[in-house]
Symmetry: C3
Subunit: 373 residues, 3 copies
Amino acid sequence: MQEENVNVFLRNVWYVAGFGTEVTRTPMQRRILGEDLVIYRTTSGVAVALANACPHRQLPLAMGRVVGENLQCGYHGAQFAADGRCVLVPGQVEVPATARVRSYPVRDLYGFVWVWMGEAALAATVEPIDLYAFVDSGKWDTRDGYKHIACNYELINDNLADITHVEFVHPSTLGTGEVRAVRGHGAGDPRPQAVHRFDVKSVADGIDFLFFAGNTRIAPAFESGYRRFKQAGEKDYLDFLLDFRFRAPSFWLFSPTTMKSGHPPEEGVRTSSPIAITPEDQGSCHYFFKTCQDYAPGNSAETAWWHEQTSLAFDEDQAVLEAQHANTSGPGKNGVSMAISFQGDGMGFQIRKLIRARQSAESGAPPTTHATG
Amino acid sequence: MQEENVNVFLRNVWYVAGFGTEVTRTPMQRRILGEDLVIYRTTSGVAVALANACPHRQLPLAMGRVVGENLQCGYHGAQFAADGRCVLVPGQVEVPATARVRSYPVRDLYGFVWVWMGEAALAATVEPIDLYAFVDSGKWDTRDGYKHIACNYELINDNLADITHVEFVHPSTLGTGEVRAVRGHGAGDPRPQAVHRFDVKSVADGIDFLFFAGNTRIAPAFESGYRRFKQAGEKDYLDFLLDFRFRAPSFWLFSPTTMKSGHPPEEGVRTSSPIAITPEDQGSCHYFFKTCQDYAPGNSAETAWWHEQTSLAFDEDQAVLEAQHANTSGPGKNGVSMAISFQGDGMGFQIRKLIRARQSAESGAPPTTHATG
Amino acid sequence: MQEENVNVFLRNVWYVAGFGTEVTRTPMQRRILGEDLVIYRTTSGVAVALANACPHRQLPLAMGRVVGENLQCGYHGAQFAADGRCVLVPGQVEVPATARVRSYPVRDLYGFVWVWMGEAALAATVEPIDLYAFVDSGKWDTRDGYKHIACNYELINDNLADITHVEFVHPSTLGTGEVRAVRGHGAGDPRPQAVHRFDVKSVADGIDFLFFAGNTRIAPAFESGYRRFKQAGEKDYLDFLLDFRFRAPSFWLFSPTTMKSGHPPEEGVRTSSPIAITPEDQGSCHYFFKTCQDYAPGNSAETAWWHEQTSLAFDEDQAVLEAQHANTSGPGKNGVSMAISFQGDGMGFQIRKLIRARQSAESGAPPTTHATG
């Protein structure tokens, strides 16, 4: 459904439109922020994103084919340059002056193709988040993953920002009693006193947070991820450090490290997952992620194992997110209610507030206090 | 689709929400009168029905699990008591005072779980229809059946109230020329003069009717049902007695008896089917039924045979009802028209009138004369 | 979806409702111009089209059965004559005076059943397009084909009226550089000078056009169609003559002939395809066609080969048409835009203008200048 999406999404921002490897000379169709795009590479390899409708009779341009540096419509053969201008109409000398299609600024960086859905003139003033250290530095083994999630993108933000759900949604992967412990329930716990830290810091366009649980038992995936590769006694306690960064409106960088208690992170097992959430529409998202590890370079089996764990946990979230969205969207439903909140909601609220502020800055209107998403 | 269902349905009445055996410690989701419920048993066995959305972030509670006498939400672990109150939020001491979910009064009787969708305070003043004699008396062999029917529930009432359709919709089961005969077409029939009776009686909240066709050939299902178990000569004529009761808005008790002509019902073959129609929404229904027989106690093959016949006849009705609903519902359609009526429609009209009167009593408004359903 | 279709379609015209062979004593349901019809033959073989809803309780009459010259409703057995009058209600003597269903005028001609969706009194003043020469003259071998196409019918008109798309949509069947050549791109072509003609003529209710390309290489399907049956040297050039007729609002007669260069059409390979497009609704069409050939009488393998080629080309169009429709229809979309046009659009515009004029004549309103379809 094509709805009125103006002001619903942040537009002056780089969104991931796809993996670099899936953008080829065979045009592909992708819907982003409620708009249909055709994305392809020209013969010389340049990634291009155009509106997916020929201005003549609106055939999806994704049904056409790349001819040199142009995209040729599959209906009457009109050709469009990367800037969207119609440069050729077969069988006639003149090309209608108004024949052009919207071209979206594109960046081809870090294994992602990024697209700018807002005011084109502003695209040059901002760059995508710098992922050089993870993807291009040559130190990481990485693997791509994609999920299509049928929910509003802000529900995914809420979910990622909230560490208290892991015990209930991810019992076999990320779940751990430690989360509850750090929030005040740990008294009387027979385990040795764990050292915990939970730091949240506002940065430009986002939030950085750091979680540390020391000398303790940690989430199953991290525990077994550590033990499958490193030597550790059955009863050894581990330290767990999570570096988690959010960039508005929906980019996340999730970097967990597991190490022997008291040892420095450099001796541990570290992975990192950039997560790029790109709204397809108000009720669905593209969820692009990479699983990266740098402790076993060249060991793709290790990378695959982490990818599988990560993907499993995301599947667990997806089931929750889609049920939550279905339960609150559609005729007679009013979106997710924020009327009742728990202590774990704080970060989610902070993120929603940040997005509202940027939305109002983009639209020139004062920020509203949307309670629903 | 969640529509505005206030006043569309009778609410201060017990509806069957499911069979007692399907309500277990594994929560199940069921939509009733356009509202989504989660239904389950606590560890001690008490049946509970709650609104199927956690008040915190609206995850369907049916995705949670029973913990003792509470239901635990599958997202953040909040626990709800049977009365809908949130009694625990993991990781925090205080529970938000407004955190509660609607709890629906429940009865666990006669092999059905019944739910009260109206004003809770009134639930204690009414009891579900008494089915003790059929289900709990120990005299009947019973079997459960369920159909999901995509039509407005009043079309099913019309269908059950109308004996003239059986010749056309149920030629292999319930159809018989006798129905037409009793209505005035029997003159010149070569068969011996049949004795017929058709009595209709208004009772509190419903209608009782009795149909008797004596010394005649009867509907195929009843004829072969009698002959497969009792001794009867090829040319023997039988008597057929149908005791049929309606209780507003959509409960039916269908009890046919077949016996040798002139013999008392006690010597015949009697079955009985409670039929509980529970609107799922305006355009679909749950159709719960039981097939009971008391003439061959402990003979489950006999019960199964009757269940199969009954289910077949309901399937024949379902095909008609869903096509009728599809032909009259949706954009630009105005529901079933009652503008033209046949003589067989009388009982259906009486039932619709009874429901309208109760609806207006519930809403405090004078009864309207809805001609459509 | 049943939408307000008044004035959207031309009504006082004969539409093909089906092939003569598919209209039998088993009633069938077909949606035409947004109205549901039941179509059948009475016992004596007369084709009848009625509104597909019993006036009593709106069961689709297509669920009933033919009884002599009447159609019997499958719910209560009411019978309807071919003129739509209810003539029998089982079990009662009187038939309600207002019990009747709309009957649509029908013609049973040329292997098609035609239906008149407009003012019944006008049906006798017009006859379906005369196809005697193709279907009933005994000179042609014919084969029927059907496609259900999910687009507005005017997009199909646009497509058939536009010869410039064949190079891009039908490279393996109808595509040929000659089309482009005739439009001015042929200069410098190494092939012998081709002789081309392209005549367009307005006729009552339609347009006739004639395309001739002489002494040239022609479209793959016609080239191989000629060569598979006739003797021709590898390097022989052929002549191609296309006789193409449009009758408002959506009937086409497509007759291509291929012959040795300089020889008369009578010595060539001629096929002919009547194409009857009948709108099902605003967003979908029935597409009935026949493939006829008269150069190899009685050779059904030859007919089948042409049918396969024709059907393949229609499939290529269908993919384009449905994608074009999906890209321009639905919430927030405004139909196909005609804002930008190419030289090949001329005939399509002429046809749209003709339809608008007839629509306004039917509705009594001045013609609007709809730019979208």
